[in-house]
């Protein structure tokens, strides 16, 4: 699919509004969107929301042979995938220009700047080292993918804990998390990327949205760490028609202040989650569950859904073990279940209306694709009780429908069926 064409109307409007100092979402020119970080229940996995832009990062590790040029250092590999759901014009499979750009930015910022202590990842020099792999998946594109990806990478790397390793001479033993506590990575410094877009009029905005990115003329990305050091820099013209004046010196101060503040926020979020994990206290954490906000109109949360099926244990005692047999039991259960709908057996938050049409449609189940297996079972049944012979015909026959009506009438004598059984 192609990207929707940028209209002249949108271009004009964004340029004019930026000239006047307003942005479409009400932010000031050098203001960034809110950052929200959510963690998964395993180490090193997080989802970052930068406004509407959404990125998921996962850090994993495995043991490999080190590079010959660096025999006592671990390895770090960053991979960026633009999921086709992020935007209409993203194609799965091919590495598009944008994904290569983001990959390269992140490599510069995290690998080339040596922010991770790779030597501590060495197990046996020249033979076995930890190989870290950071997988970044962009889920929704609303501008500024690089920043969002860098926040996700930093959060995931700070959050990640690797298994503990002990070596006894030749062998190395990798301890599972239950045996020995996992160890965090050592980060020398914490860099993040901060992006800016410059427009025709010369004004620069920070943290552009999708529309602003398309209208803009030049893009600048700075990688800055919490010590106010510059880790990476990338400047790019998005159009070939004009040049802009010195952007870097104009915004570098703002960028640094923002980066320091952002790193602080990330560190706090990570530390809070790590502590909560050690204390095994799940109450106030920012897990994926919290990402699904309970009070919104389009969310639905249900507690553990417990299904009645009390009588299953009794059914299993019956020898024949035939499905139709069970159905007899279940249909009798229906009269028990129905009053059960409002009962305390089911947790109040769930809306379980079990009796609706449930038993009726079960009769149709035998006409499903498992006809082959049905046939097999009928042979088994024949060897057992005589009682089930009627059922055999039902199972194997394609003309089940007629027989089924009989069946249900027999079984559900007292139970009134609200809807017609067969078409």
């Amino acid at each position: 699919m192609k990207e929707v064409l940028l209209t002249n109307c949108e271009k004009n409007f964004v340029n004019k509004s930026v000239e006047q100092g307003t942005r479409l979402d009400g932010r000031s020119l050098l203001e960034a969107r809110n950052v929200k970080i959510y963690f998964a229940s395993n180490w090193g996995s997080c989802m970052v929301l930068l406004g509407q832009t959404r990125v998921v990062a996962q850090v994993t590790c495995d043991i490999q042979q080190p590079k010959t040029s660096r025999p006592n250092e671990g390895m770090l590999h960053i991979n960026v995938e633009l999921n086709p759901m992020a935007a209409q014009h993203f194609d799965s499979g091919r590495q598009s220009e944008i994904s290569i750009l983001i990959s390269r930015q992140l490599e510069k910022c995290y690998q080339d700047s040596k922010c991770i202590d790779l030597e501590s990842l060495c197990i046996i020099a020249d033979k076995k080292v930890w190989n870290l792999r950071v997988d970044i998946n962009v889920i929704n594109h609303d501008g500024n993918l690089i920043d969002c990806a860098s926040i996700a990478t930093l959060a995931a790397l700070s959050h990640f804990h690797r298994p503990d390793v002990t070596s006894n001479g030749e062998d190395i033993i990798v301890h599972p998390f239950s045996e020995k506590d996992p160890l965090p990575l050592t980060l020398y410094h914490y860099p993040v990327c901060v992006s800016f877009i410059t427009f025709e009029s010369g004004s620069t905005v920070m943290d552009p949205t999708y529309l602003e990115e398309r209208v803009g003329v030049a893009q600048l990305t700075l990688g800055i760490n919490s010590y106010r050091e510059l880790c990476s820099l990338h400047f790019n013209y998005l159009t070939k028609t004009m040049t802009v004046e010195d952007v870097i010196s104009a915004v570098s101060n703002y960028a640094t202040n923002y980066a320091v503040q952002l790193v602080q926020q990330i560190k706090e979020a990570v530390n809070y989650d790590v502590e909560a994990r050690y204390k095994k206290d799940d109450r106030n954490t920012n897990r994926f569950k919290e990402c699904i906000m309970t009070k919104k109109l389009t969310t639905m949360n249900s507690e553990c859904i417990s299904i009645k099926l009390r009588k299953w244990s009794e059914i299993e005692n019956i020898e024949s073990d035939v499905d139709m047999e069970k159905k007899e039991e279940e249909t009798e259960n229906c009269t028990i279940i129905k009053p059960g709908i409002g009962s305390a057996e089911l947790i109040p938050n769930t809306n379980i209306s079990f009796g609706e049409g449930g038993p009726n449609t079960w009769n149709m189940s035998e006409s499903s694709e498992e006809e082959i297996s049905d046939v097999e079972i009928t042979t088994v049944i024949k060897k057992k009780e005589n009682k089930t012979i009627e059922n055999i015909e039902l199972n194997g026959d394609s003309e089940e429908e007629n027989i089924e009506i009989l069946e249900t009438k027999d079984l559900m004598h007292s139970y009134k069926i609200p809807m017609p059984i067969n078409k």
Partner: protein, 222 residues
């Protein structure tokens, strides 16, 4: 929202399901679904222009893309894509939008057991959110047979799955509760297979009710 305590009949419990629709601004329909700790996010674009090679003149072509969270896509992921595609094609009325494409994209967020069932449910919810014409809704349930006790456990998590002798995922339609998709691993007998299929069928009613309640919540306002 606490996780409820494990009752003595824990095999009859489905894990808590949390879902939010329309979370992503770009896709036409999206759903983030969590079943216990297994989390998945699905985004749908459709009907959109199909590429010439994939265009079918009288039907909509359903394209599925599943992205795992760790590493590049592997053969197993392509198999998951195939299951999702076949299941969704059974449900979508493809003749309503000829020569178009319906792109279903699923991103795994966390796998804590029951991934295939979770992705099929999320895809169905996203299809509902996108307003794609469907003949029926789909509910997928995962269950396993334990090695020693031969108990049938519905919607097991990773820890329970380590003791599994066989694992089943069934997807049912909402109208007649027919089986649309069936995925199994491990060994089991025919009677065990039918038994688990029946339990999953019963459990699927809960998932359909979950969908209905979700739609009821927003349908009158939006």
């Amino acid at each position: 929202m606490d996780m409820s305590e494990e009752t003595p009949q824990s095999e009859y419990i489905l894990r808590p399901m949390n879902c939010e629709l329309n979370q992503l601004s770009m896709p036409d329909g999206s759903a983030m679904l969590m079943q216990g700790n297994t989390a998945v996010i699905a985004g749908i674009y459709g009907p959109v222009e199909a590429k010439l090679q994939k265009m079918i003149y009288d039907k909509a072509s359903v394209e599925v893309s599943y992205s795992p969270i760790k590493g590049p896509t592997k053969v197993d992921d392509r198999m998951t894509e195939m299951y999702i595609k076949e299941t969704c094609e059974a449900a979508i009325i493809v003749t309503f939008h000829p020569a178009t494409a319906i792109c279903i994209n699923v991103q795994e967020l966390e796998d804590s057991g029951g991934m295939l069932a979770c992705t099929i449910n999320a895809a169905c919810l996203a299809l509902i959110n996108a307003g794609i014409p469907m003949k029926f809704t789909i509910a997928a349930i995962n269950c396993m047979i334990q090695k020693d006790s031969e108990d049938i456990i519905l919607d097991p998590d990773n820890i329970q799955l380590q003791e599994a002798k066989a694992e089943f995922t069934f997807a049912f339609d909402s109208m007649d509760k027919n089986v649309i998709c069936c995925y199994t691993t491990g060994c089991f007998t025919e009677t065990e297979f039918l038994k688990t299929m029946d339990r999953c069928k019963q459990a699927s009613q809960y998932v359909f009710d979950f969908y209905r309640n979700l739609v009821k919540k927003y349908a009158n306002v939006i």
